[in-house]
């Protein structure tokens, strides 16, 4: 059975939407395309200075303000919703516009230890060192390469037709909902690669080097949110406890939705490992582009997403300060148009709907997949 299956996979033709388009672009065109994007990158790098430094410092100040206000408002029981809102905003800013972006090294040029990728730690149960490995290195280098980019479905979900359907995936919508509610825990456990431990590809002992950091971080986060701050409010302990948990939950839901809209709406493509061997810079950019989607919205909305509403620009230039993404998005879009590359963008509602539909559709065996398997098996019958 196993042998037959392998044969099927090798004879089966690999078709992804990206290939069709890629065949239209010659190697020279791809190089020119890469050159134009490199030029944007160089220009922005040379412009970095006062504005970027002032912006991130303003955001940090606002985040600290929301955090202190949130913690303090728990002393006034009628202001409980306000306290939760304030703390939620604080955690969202901390994780997205500050944490995610600082850990990408977007502000390393400032030389400020408080905004340095090697030193920043975020208000999240995932230790920054493990996040930087799985996100900055694995996800951003092998973006949307099946079998390499573990962010495709996070090892839990079926987010791409190329992931073979199994009855387990009938639970796709349920798993996605659970992942959304506990997103920070999902991110923290990401590096352990539970799915590979369960399938026996990896042993529990191999994850040992991660345990101490993970336990320490979880302990610190739990200590302040679920013990110390609630205890400081005395008789209001339960209210503060629930409030802190709610703020963490709000941040989880928000971050999950923004990130899923940036990576998984319809039209986003995945690649095979073979396609990306010895790839040119132009091809790398091209892969980043087809692997991401943007969300349109107001300036405040962009800030609250850490400017990850510009996931396309982020994937092209992960180490440029994210506040620059909206500024260069028109230019990137124009370049894409000229090369006939789809620039996937839309309002939050539409992108969310598209992601939700995909999660549900892929819970079921793919009709196209079934046809393709049939096509492969048919000659066997004939023989």
């Amino acid at each position: 059975m196993t042998a037959q299956k392998t044969e099927e996979t090798t004879t089966q033709e690999h078709v992804v939407p990206g290939d069709v388009l890629l065949n239209k672009l010659t190697a020279e065109q791809l190089d020119a395309f890469g050159g134009e994007l490199d030029a944007i990158r160089q220009r922005v790098l040379s412009e970095l200075g006062d504005e970027d430094a002032d912006y991130i410092r303003r955001i940090v100040k606002a985040q600290r303000g929301f955090e202190v206000a949130g913690r303090a408002l728990f002393y006034l029981p009628p202001a409980w919703p306000l306290a939760v809102a304030s703390l939620s905003v604080s955690k969202i800013l901390d994780n997205m516009e500050i944490g995610h972006n600082v850990m990408h090294g977007q502000y390393d040029w400032m030389g400020d230890p408080g905004l340095n990728s090697r030193m920043y730690e975020w208000d999240n149960v995932c230790p920054s060192s493990q996040w930087k490995y799985s996100h900055n290195y694995i996800h951003h280098t092998y973006t949307n390469i099946l079998g390499k980019d573990r962010d495709i479905g996070y090892g839990i979900l079926r987010m791409d037709e190329e992931q073979e359907w199994r009855p387990y995936y009938l639970g796709n919508p349920l798993y996605a909902t659970l992942l959304m509610l506990g997103f920070e825990w999902g991110v923290a456990m990401h590096d352990l690669e539970f799915e590979r431990i369960i399938s026996g590809e990896k042993s529990w002992a191999e994850t040992k080097h991660l345990h101490a950091g993970l336990i320490r971080k979880i302990r610190n986060q739990a200590l302040k949110d679920y013990l110390l701050f609630p205890a400081l409010t005395g008789p209001l302990f339960p209210l503060t406890f629930v409030g802190n948990a709610t703020a963490n939950l709000v941040r989880n839901i928000w971050a999950f939705n923004i990130i899923f809209c940036g990576h998984f709406p319809a039209g986003v493509s995945t690649f095979s490992e073979e396609e990306c061997e010895n790839e040119s810079r132009g091809h790398w950019y091209y892969r980043q582009l087809l692997g991401s989607a943007n969300i349109t919205g107001s300036k405040l909305f962009h800030t609250m997403t850490g400017n990850l509403s510009h996931q396309i620009e982020h994937h092209l230039f992960p180490d440029l300060p994210a506040r620059r993404y909206p500024q260069i998005s028109e230019e990137v879009r124009e370049i894409c148009q000229r090369y006939g590359i789809d620039y996937n963008t839309g309002p939050l509602g539409r992108q969310l709907f598209s992601v939700a539909r995909k999660i549900c559709r892929l819970a079921l065996p793919d009709r196209k997949q079934a046809r393709r398997s049939a096509a492969v098996t048919r000659p066997a019958f004939a023989a």
């Binding site: 303000g65 202190v68 030389g111 400020d112």
Partner: protein, 373 residues
């Protein structure tokens, strides 16, 4: 706040409880938002005064010098005379925080006490130029704690036929000045029965830092002799021998430009009485001619080894590695050497371990060398 009050305050600020409440950012990340002079662990300072010492002259190629008085945060632990401090400046415009080391020029400071830096605005020194030309009262600087072993022993005033000798050149006078000021402040006088000999080399009288104060010290009734030498000569062994015949057996503190320090080192012929402080690393000199190739692996660049420090060689190839002090102190430039042998240009020590973290500003390759840059 009373001393006990502030002691209790700083104990609370440094408590484990507050660290847990402010996790993962730490107390300082919140305090700085309220008042930059509040800190629990970090050291910062506010510029109190900038005083011009010399104006410098473009003809003789000397740059102006200024003394900057700093009020540190209460986290400053004080300094011993002769020590240096790392100063970080958010440069205007580019906003890149750049850090350099400066010797402290004032007498020993206690915890939280003011101190001064005396800085020459070198052409290529962005931090020193900023401090001399642009620093204004009220501005904040980022500091390290004071560090360095270029200090006086606990009790220099032990009666002895051997004097204490300070040999300095140019702005290398600052750590020695801190030592002399400390001695005088603490009552060092003719009854100490141990002479102090201060031999300083400067370009010209106009370029002399602390000229008035040195004249006062020379004139006063104390055991401190001041000898100022002007001109192109950066050091004279003949002069030193005339003043201190048995100088190799005399406790000496020397600080100056690299070329001067090399001459002094040669004169002392390895005597352990000599303590040195560089304010630029000595140029790599003597020894065998540079051989082999230097490869910067990540950048995919390579060139024939020039014998200069790896940082200089990387920059000559157009690479921009991170660096700080350029003198082996701050570890900003630490990089991985994957293959080959390097010599520490300050200690002369060679090491050939593979995958070794080295400070590229003070490491020169000996033969072929591969660095992960």
């Amino acid at each position: 706040m009373s001393p006990t009050g502030s002691a209790i305050g700083s104990r609370i600020l440094r408590s484990r409880a507050l660290a847990a409440l402010t996790s993962p950012h730490g107390v300082d990340r919140y305090l700085e938002q309220v008042n930059p002079m509040w800190a629990a662990h970090e050291v910062r300072a506010r510029v109190v005064e900038v005083r011009r010492e010399t104006t410098g002259s473009p003809e003789s190629g000397t740059a102006p010098v200024a003394t900057i008085t700093l009020q540190p945060t209460s986290t400053w632990r004080g300094h011993r005379a002769g020590q240096y401090v790392q100063v970080g400046v958010d440069l205007p415009g580019s906003r890149r925080r750049t850090t350099r080391c400066f010797s402290i020029s004032s007498a020993e400071s206690g915890p939280g006490e003011r101190f001064t830096l005396t800085v020459r605005a070198h052409d290529e020194g962005q931090v020193s130029k900023f401090l001399v030309h642009e620093a204004e009262p009220g501005q904040m600087l980022h500091l390290s704690q004071a560090d360095g072993d270029f200090t006086l022993p606990g009790s220099p005033a032990t009666p002895s036929p051997y004097p204490l000798v300070f040999i300095t050149g140019g702005s290398g006078i600052t750590p020695a000045m801190s030592m002399v000021r400390t001695l005088l402040r603490d009552g060092y006088d003719a009854k100490a029965h141990r002479k102090v000999l201060f031999l300083h080399f400067a370009r010209s009288p106009e370029d002399q830092i602390f000229a008035d104060e040195l004249a006062e010290i020379a004139a006063a009734d104390n055991d401190i002799d001041v000898h100022l030498r002007y001109g192109e000569q950066i050091f004279s062994e003949f002069e030193l021998r005339r003043l201190v015949p048995d100088y190799r057996n005399t406790d000496t503190w020397a600080c100056g430009p690299g070329a001067m320090v090399e001459l002094i080192q040669a004169a002392y012929a390895g005597s352990d009485r000599l303590r040195l402080e560089f304010f630029e690393p000595p140029r790599i000199s003597g020894g065998e001619a540079a051989e082999g190739d230097v490869v910067f692996g990540r950048a995919g660049r390579s060139a024939a080894n020039t014998g200069e420090s790896l940082l200089d060689q990387a920059e000559a190839l157009g690479l921009k590695p991170e660096f700080g002090c350029r003198m082996g102190i701050c570890f900003t430039c630490t990089s991985k050497k994957t293959e080959g042998t390097v010599r520490n240009v300050i200690t002369g020590a060679e090491s050939s371990l593979p995958d070794e973290d080295i400070q590229i500003c003070v490491s020169a390759p000996v033969g072929d060398c591969v660095v992960d840059l």
